[in-house]
């Protein structure tokens, strides 16, 4: 089911609009002209994820050296600081947090085990990691396709 959620000009680059669609709170983000929608509910414990701050990607080789990619595509939940990629809904976290989670998923679906196994190389730097030492987390925020139809943004909701 498609819903018109905003005029395209309403959300400037780097901005967002939080709307209610089909009874769900959704955040629509403009990343440099591309639009993405996430559910405004953190998969961790239900915080209002889409009200969080956006961050870029930072890394460094030595003290005083800052290699900053100002993508501002990392959304940080205001409740517990879990970080999510706005494009994919993928979470990022400290490996220690994941170790606990990995233990939990060992008894569940094969696909989740495979995903957890990807994170075995805990200290391998991933180019999308928002900060040094972070790995892919266990959560994926719910995302929805956004299309621009003329002057309007349209979100497609499942069901």
């Amino acid at each position: 089911m498609k819903y018109v959620v905003a005029e395209a000009s309403e959300i400037e680059a780097g901005g967002r609009k939080i709307v209610t669609v089909a009874g769900r709170s959704i955040g629509v983000f403009n990343l440099d002209g591309e639009f993405f929608a996430l559910r405004n509910r953190c998969p961790h414990q239900g915080g209002k994820l889409c009200e969080g701050k956006l961050w870029g990607v930072i890394r460094s080789e030595r003290p005083g050296d800052f290699e900053y990619r100002p993508s501002r595509e990392i959304l940080c939940c205001p409740w517990h600081g879990w970080e999510f990629h706005v494009r994919t809904g993928q979470s990022w976290c400290a490996p220690e947090r994941l170790r606990v989670r990995r233990y939990e998923v060992e008894t569940v679906a094969g696909e989740e085990i495979a995903e957890a196994a990807d994170t075995e190389a805990l200290n391998v730097e991933h180019p999308d990691a928002p900060a040094p030492g972070m790995v892919k987390g266990p959560y994926t925020a719910e995302t929805y396709p956004v299309t621009r139809e003329g002057e309007y943004l349209v979100v497609e909701m499942p069901g």
Partner: protein, 340 residues
């Protein structure tokens, strides 16, 4: 067995005169300046013990103590001297004296380069002057300093120490212009001695967070007379804070506890023992690595709670062997099977 912490007594001024230039001999002879007089402990207290000469040390540390090699430091407080040129001259003289009177005469003894830490550039030059001299294996840095040891102020010195191949030995004490607690001047020795663990903790945090080990990935550090029972809880807290604040210090690419376990070793004397001795085992396990602790006697200083007697018998034989021998052998790159 390797003894990682024994002491050469502070030199009397007259013992240093043969190693000073005529200008400094005249200065110390004709003025009231008699060099460093600072003692960390009150005179005649058991922990102040000066020990005797080389013969006494040989007898206590090697013959009775059974050490194959002992790493010695001289706590002559050049960091308390405000005249910068006098501090440099006395540091150099102390090192030449240590080399001539102790290290050259006893090949089982290894030494520590004394530096004027209040003058980091001069300290670097002093390290370079002695780095290749036989006998010196480390640089002695008092844990109390004018600035946190991770500050950029000291980075060139860390680089020099790293490149020299020497170990940086951070030792209880120091006499900078700063108070010995993080909140100001205490009134009693009891407060100062207890607070020294917090000073070590602060220096550890500073060195990791301010990127000393990222700038100097081969730097090896040993904490001497720091105690170690405070370390696990401190690492838990540092790791926790890093998770939230790492973006501000992105050069810290791994949990701080990883840096500690990779770069820092800790002498076991003196020991802060819990009332129930078995609880020490939990702390040792919480350290998270068998490679960290080094046997140390702190000769000639006498402590109420002796780590060799209280801690080692509780531990499994393999860990005892690491603490008595292998960990220090690896840190100081001592050859297997005896001194050449």
């Amino acid at each position: 067995m390797i003894d990682a912490d024994v002491h050469i007594p502070n030199p009397r001024l007259r013992e240093l005169l043969p190693f000073l230039s005529e200008h400094w001999i005249e200065h110390f002879s004709n003025t009231l300046d008699k060099g460093a007089s600072q003692q960390y402990y009150p005179p005649r207290s058991p922990v102040t013990g000066r020990g005797g000469g080389l013969g006494d040390l040989r007898e206590a540390v090697f013959d009775r103590g059974g050490a194959e090699v002992a790493v010695a430091s001289c706590l002559y407080a050049v960091d308390s001297i405000h005249n910068p040129d006098a501090a440099i001259a006395l540091a150099t003289a102390t090192n030449d004296w240590q080399s001539r009177e102790w290290l050259e005469r006893e090949p089982r003894l290894r030494g520590s380069v004394v530096v004027p830490i209040q003058l980091p550039a001069a300290a670097s030059e002093e390290v370079e002057r002695h780095a290749d001299r036989p006998g010196f294996v480390q640089v002695l840095i008092p844990v109390r300093t004018e600035h946190p040891l991770g500050s950029r102020h000291y980075h060139p010195l860390w680089k020099t120490i790293e490149q020299s191949g020497l170990v940086a030995a951070i030792h209880f004490g120091g006499a900078p212009v700063m108070p010995p607690t993080p909140t100001g001047w205490p009134s009693f020795f009891l407060e100062e001695y207890t607070a020294m663990a917090q000073v070590f903790a602060t220096q550890l945090t500073s060195m990791i967070v301010e990127g000393v080990f990222d700038a100097c990935p081969d730097l090896r550090v040993v904490f001497l007379e720091s105690g170690f029972t405070w370390i696990p809880a401190h690492l838990w807290r540092m790791d926790k804070e890093w998770r939230n604040l790492r973006r501000l210090v992105p050069w810290v690419r791994r949990p701080p506890s990883d840096y500690f376990r990779e770069h820092v070793r800790v002498g076991i004397q003196p020991l802060d023992a819990p009332p129930v001795p078995a609880q020490l085992l939990e702390v040792v396990e919480q350290l998270g690595s068998d490679d960290l602790l080094l046997f140390a006697s702190d000769y000639p200083h006498v402590h109420a709670c002796d780590a060799g007697e209280r801690l080692l018998p509780l531990l499994p034989a393999t860990l005892q062997r690491k603490i008595r021998d292998e960990n220090a052998r690896s840190l100081y790159r001592l050859p297997e099977g005896g001194v050449p």
